[in-house]
């Protein structure tokens, strides 16, 4: 009834190209932004920040990054954990080497360093495709984790082999370290997630995105239309790793504060991010958010229900949680193989006709 493009005439191609061509969508988007920026920071506490919002926002950045590579460019990667580690260690080295530079700049630089590493490990994609490429990126995952474990220079020769984030401030407000307020770390992640999502959306709707999608859908036809597969694939690796690097940097510096590389950025992390985009929807920015929300919120929600409401023992609940999440993933994928984003799309199409479906 409210959700339709009828009467909403576009008179220029600029208007037609915008991200949310339907008015209702646009207002909903502004509302979400408003709530995220102006309401949540005043209500947030440590539990909500650490259990829900920070992991959700950071994984959303990682999922957007991986979605660009897998969902838009069709290059399967299992190296996202390793690339997140690159971002984390890069930001750590930068923070400790140049303490006077703003942490936000360090995070962006860490993304840039990860982009370079990503391009290096993306080189095999010019020769190999599909599952074989996934195996090649798996090598990146194991090699990077090994590297950060074995070379003491990366963790500044600390005895534990861990890295921990020193306190850094933005506008005089601490955003890393022990004295950080939950709203400050939330805001840092929120700003990054918003900018990353907008950049990802702009890239994927323009000529760069078309190059990626052309390579994904049919690489031979893409080449015949004038897409250079070398630059298209490597740019996807670069942009994707840039986002994943930022996610890794935030994960370490703002969220965890101290990490041990094998635990925080192991192969599990690669699979987790991959599951997020598969459940959320390949080739969709919204899907990246939906998938991240699903896999972050669902365990928390189940735990609250099972332990909090039903009063079951914690260990039983923890095991049941695995089973339920696993089961739900299967149910979801059978019901809608194209993920939550597709469910959302179908709902919107139905909404456009509602309440008169003819």
């Amino acid at each position: 009834m409210f959700y339709r493009e009828a009467g909403d005439f576009k008179t220029s191609y600029q208007d037609d190209n915008q991200t949310f061509p339907i008015k209702f969508d646009r207002y909903r988007y502004y509302l979400v932004l408003f709530v995220a920026f102006a309401v949540i920071p005043f209500m947030i506490n440590d539990y909500w920040a650490n259990a829900i919002f920070l992991p959700f926002l950071i994984y959303a950045i990682a999922a957007i990054g991986l979605n660009i590579l897998v969902g838009y460019c069709g290059q399967v990667s299992l190296g996202s954990g390793g690339f997140m580690a690159v971002g984390a260690y890069a930001v750590y080295k930068l923070m400790t080497s140049f303490p006077e530079v703003n942490i936000l700049i360090h995070v962006v630089l860490a993304g840039g360093i990860t982009a370079i590493v990503g391009v290096l490990f993306g080189l095999p994609s010019l020769r190999i495709k599909g599952f074989y490429l996934a195996v090649a990126t798996l090598a990146a995952q194991f090699f990077l984790v090994w590297l950060f474990n074995r070379v003491p220079w990366f963790y500044n020769y600390s005895a534990s082999g861990q890295i921990s984030a020193p306190e850094r401030t933005v506008f005089g407000i601490p955003v890393t370290g022990a004295n950080t307020d939950s709203w400050a770390s939330y805001m840092v992640c929120l700003v990054f997630v918003t900018i990353c999502a907008i950049i990802a959306r702009n890239l994927t709707r323009g000529s760069m995105g078309r190059r990626w999608m052309a390579i994904r859908d049919m690489d031979i036809a893409a080449e015949i239309i004038g897409v250079n597969p070398l630059t298209a694939k490597l740019s996807a690796f670069a942009v994707s790793s840039f986002f994943i690097g930022i996610a890794g940097a935030l994960f370490f510096s703002v969220y965890l504060g101290a990490v041990e590389v094998g635990e925080a950025f192991g192969i599990n992390k690669s699979f987790l991010v991959l599951f997020m985009i598969i459940i959320g929807g390949l080739g969709s920015i919204f899907g990246s958010f939906a998938g991240a929300a699903f896999l972050v919120l669902l365990p928390v929600f189940l735990k609250n229900v099972l332990v909090g409401t039903l009063g079951w023992p914690t260990d039983l609940a923890a095991h049941l949680e695995f089973m339920i999440v696993g089961g739900l993933i299967i149910v979801f994928l059978i019901a809608e193989p194209h993920g939550l984003a597709q469910l959302w799309r179908v709902t919107k199409e139905k909404l456009r006709l509602w309440p008169f479906p003819y």
Partner: protein, 272 residues
């Protein structure tokens, strides 16, 4: 008046210009198989050139040589008066050669409009940063190229499906979208690999009309492969006939029709 350097005038009064694409003694082998044996022919500016022949004659291989998929072992490809170095398909595309495929090669996950817009990718050069913020060159370029694509979309009468994902379209429309994508790049030479395969009579008529009006309105040089003899004879200005990798005939449709070798190849002849 076929063999003059300056071109010729067709029966329906169109003037055909000089040679655009000149294939000189092309030989293509796959291992021990000779797919193309020492073939030479030319394609002239503004003409509709057909390549016909029975199955396995090497027609598609020939088109693949032109579009850069295959590099011939012997012979030279001359494009616009210069011999062409062996190059990748995307470099060939940047020279202004577009093509369609026998079995449709559209980007199934994208909308019709996006598919047509991919045809403009060789012209879109804005940097990553400009695209990331969607300002300046990127947005301007997007709008300019959109206008060109919309003209093609109008021309091929696919306005109503421009926002539809290609995967949902029926076969005939997909063929048309593929033609639109090739046309969007404003090619100097358009290669069509069986544009009418698997179509019914009406769709064939539509497609023939589009091919003729593309040639007429944009002056595009077209080389096409087709099996429907009636269509080929009606559409094309000159025809190359191939059989078993050899050229057995070359000339206007009438000349080809009366060529004994061609009749033998198509109707069969007893080998004694």
């Amino acid at each position: 008046m076929l063999d003059t350097e300056q071109g010729y005038v067709t029966a329906d009064g169109r003037t055909i210009g000089g040679v655009v694409m000149d294939m000189r003694n092309i030989t293509l082998r796959f291992g021990g198989v000779e797919a193309i044996k020492n073939i030479s022919f030319d394609i002239r500016e503004g003409e509709i050139r057909a390549i016909i022949g029975p199955n396995g004659a090497g027609k598609s291989s020939m088109l693949n040589v032109i579009s850069g998929f295959y590099v011939p072992q012997e012979g030279e490809v001359w494009f616009r008066g210069e011999p062409r170095k062996p190059m990748k398909p995307f470099e060939v595309a940047r020279q202004g050669i577009a093509r369609t495929f026998q079995n449709i090669a559209l980007f199934e996950g994208m909308t019709v409009l996006d598919n047509v817009m991919t045809g403009r990718l060789t012209q879109m050069k804005s940097g990553l940063l400009s695209q990331a913020i969607w300002r300046g060159a990127a947005e301007r370029e997007e709008v300019e190229n959109r206008e060109i694509c919309e003209k093609v979309i109008d021309f091929l009468e696919i306005q109503h499906i421009r926002k539809t994902p290609v995967a949902r379209l029926p076969y005939g429309l997909k063929k048309r979208v593929e033609l639109a994508r090739a046309l969007a790049s404003e090619p100097k030479l358009l290669l069509l690999d069986e544009p009418m395969a698997g179509m019914n009579v009406e769709e064939k008529e539509d497609m023939s009309r589009f091919i003729l009006s593309v040639n007429d309105e944009f002056g595009t040089t077209i080389a096409l492969i087709e099996h429907d003899m009636g269509v080929v004879m009606d559409l094309s200005d000159r025809v190359v006939v191939m059989d078993y990798g050899k050229k057995i005939g070359d000339g206007t449709p009438d000349e080809v029709r009366n060529n004994q070798d061609v009749i033998d190849a198509y109707l069969g002849v007893s080998h004694d």
